[in-house]
């Protein structure tokens, strides 16, 4: 690659003096920061507008319009949305779906990645391609038969009160696992390949079986990748809309993102309430984003593996 030769040529050259930020032209800096601040304002505008609307009362905006200075700011919309639309119930639904789905996805994909990256079997590459390609399919491609399969698969009543995979939260967990395992397997396989083979060989010499090599040697070393993937998968599965709309029929069982769609016509008569409801629904992912920003970002760029 020409770039490499260029780089190697430079390694021997004396390091050029690095211009310190202060030495650069001030006008360019100011222009740059102005541009960036303006862009960020435009970027935040939709969210700020929603926040603004959610804190205002219906009367206030009805008489003065939305584009006005607020008479008063209150939390009423949030409490109304919370209680009237029974949001805690839907948050719980989401939790029941998301947490097992993320856990099982990581468990499954770490096992596959372990086998594929530590042992050389003939099917390794094929398997990896099947998983990767499956994850890239648009979900709608499989929606029609999946709906029929779910409709025809009976489940014991303790797993699904509908008696079938369709209209059960277990069914949602299952499809998330099936779909997301593809992505996580790909990322984890690449990650595990960077762990020296000697490590598992040493463990084997010491008499560790396959399970011990997986659980006590490789998995602990994958903690950073697992943390990043967990953050990312939580966001994705939490945000799912399509599967819940297609595979859940009882509105009561829906996760929050999809439930909000049903609720917006039923309970939320004014925009301020819709804004408050949307922000409440966005809250968990926003909290995850701010609390685990580094994991989230590294997950997304691990995702450049997906990509």
């Amino acid at each position: 690659m020409s770039a490499d030769t260029l780089a190697s040529r430079l390694v021997t050259a004396p390091a050029p003096s690095i211009t310190r930020p202060g030495n650069r032209l001030n006008a360019t800096r100011v222009a740059l920061h102005t541009f960036l601040v303006l862009t960020c304002l435009v970027w935040l505008a939709p969210l700020l507008w929603a926040v603004f609307a959610s804190f205002r009362t219906y009367q206030d905006t009805a008489t003065n319009g939305y584009f006005s200075w607020p008479r008063e700011l209150t939390f009423t919309n949030f409490t109304t949305a919370w209680t009237q639309a029974d949001l805690p119930h839907y948050f719980l639904n989401t939790l029941v779906i998301t947490l097992p789905a993320v856990a099982i996805t990581l468990f499954f994909s770490s096992m596959v990645a372990f086998v594929v990256s530590r042992f050389s079997f003939k099917f390794n590459l094929t398997l990896l391609m099947v998983f990767t390609a499956g994850n890239l399919l648009p979900q709608q491609v499989i929606a029609v038969p999946l709906y029929r399969i779910y409709l025809l698969t009976p489940l014991p009543s303790w797993l699904s009160d509908s008696g079938y995979l369709l209209d059960s939260q277990f069914g949602l967990v299952l499809i998330h696992v099936a779909f997301q395992t593809g992505f996580c397997t790909f990322v984890l396989t690449n990650y595990m390949k960077t762990i020296p083979k000697e490590l598992s060989e040493a463990a084997r010499v010491d008499g560790a079986g396959v399970l011990r090599q997986y659980w006590q040697v490789i998995l602990p070393l994958c903690r950073p990748a697992l943390a990043a993937l967990a953050t990312l998968e939580f966001t994705w599965i939490y945000n799912d809309f399509l599967w819940a709309i297609v595979l859940i029929q009882t509105g009561d069982k829906m996760p929050i993102t999809s439930a909000l769609n049903n609720l917006s016509g039923q309970y939320f008569t004014d925009n301020n309430l819709v804004a408050a409801g949307s922000l409440l629904a966005a809250l968990p992912t926003l909290v995850v984003f701010f609390a685990l920003q580094r994991q989230f970002v590294s997950g997304l760029t691990l995702g450049s593996a997906k990509g």
Partner: protein, 317 residues
């Protein structure tokens, strides 16, 4: 992919002999073999049963007529009639194809160009850089459905921020007017997608050897030339990733139009037509499947290109 590359670069030369040596000494015990089989087998069965079996199912069902009532024995096989009908007699089909294409082109051009610009601007030591970055990729954590809710507030004809800012209160119905609503929705979708693209480019730029740029500037290149002749070509792997992510995102688009008007009146998409035919009042399984196969064919083109790109290296080794 970068990890794989590093790995190859790091150990590529020493690998083959070592592997041969290990293979000789490797004698997995029977229990270990069973464990390995289960570790791969269970996830693989779940994945194949719920992703690839339905994919095949879509293809098979696309040649049938079935309202879903009764058992599989009630399926009537009608050859390619669904495809002929979809292509010639389904008024929503060609608009949906056109909208999907517009979606694709818009998403490839606008967020990619803007994301790249922002990445280049933010990829330097400067104050507040990380704050700017965080703000720009904040929307990435929101679901496309929530983006739909939030932008509906922005686009309200009377109460929305957009019309109030441009002094057109009540005059422009951004989401209701079928000649402009697609673009209004695309702006919202791009709002969310740009942050992701920027992040991917930033990761790529950070991984670049800074010496590269210095060398170019020593050779007398200005920053424009440095970018197009040196930086951008080196970013090739990232460019492919961005392209694939964007294409997949565009073909999958669903939530936001469903939230806004269920994909009608100017917002038809292939993904919407598929679900309309299975969960709508009229359950037309074969019809929905035929549209799904059209979507499958389009996406497989990109998926295969991507797989070839990513796995070519491993196959060689």
């Amino acid at each position: 992919m970068t990890l794989a590359e590093q790995l190859d670069a790091g150990t590529g030369t020493t690998r083959p002999p070592r592997r041969r040596a290990r293979r000789k000494s490797t004698a997995l015990s029977l229990p270990d073999r069973i464990v390995l089989l289960l570790m791969v087998g269970i996830p693989a069965v779940v994945h194949i049963a719920l992703v690839w079996v339905p994919t095949i199912g879509s293809i098979v069902l696309s040649f049938s007529e079935w309202d879903g009532i009764g058992g599989l024995s009630d399926i009537k096989w009608i050859g390619t009639k669904n495809y002929v009908d979809v292509f010639t007699a389904y008024p929503r089909f060609w608009p949906a194809v056109a909208h999907n294409l517009i979606w694709l082109v818009f998403l490839i051009v606008i967020p990619t160009a803007f994301g790249l610009l922002m990445a280049v601007l933010l990829d330097r030591k400067m104050r507040f850089s990380s704050i700017y970055q965080s703000i720009l990729y904040l929307p990435v954590v929101l679901s496309l459905a929530l983006v739909g809710f939030i932008w509906q507030l922005m686009y309200e004809p009377d109460k929305g921020l957009v019309n109030n800012l441009i002094g057109q209160v009540g005059h422009i119905n951004w989401l209701g007017d079928s000649s402009i609503n697609l673009y209004a929705v695309l702006v919202a979708a791009a709002w969310r997608h740009t942050g992701y693209v920027m992040l991917l480019f930033l990761a790529g730029l950070k991984a670049l050897d800074p010496a590269l740029k210095e060398a170019a500037s020593l050779d007398g290149a200005n920053s424009w030339q440095t970018f197009w002749r040196v930086t951008f070509p080196v970013l090739k792997p990232i460019n492919i990733i961005v392209l694939v992510v964007t294409v997949i995102e565009a073909l999958r688009a669903y939530d936001i139009v469903f939230i806004i008007n269920r994909g009608r009146n100017g917002l038809e998409l292939l993904s919407i037509l598929i679900t309309d035919n299975i969960i709508g009042e009229s359950s037309r399984i074969g019809y929905g499947s035929a549209i799904a196969v059209v979507l499958l064919v389009i996406s497989l083109g990109f998926i295969i290109t991507y797989l070839v790109q990513v796995f070519r290296k491993e196959e060689r080794s």
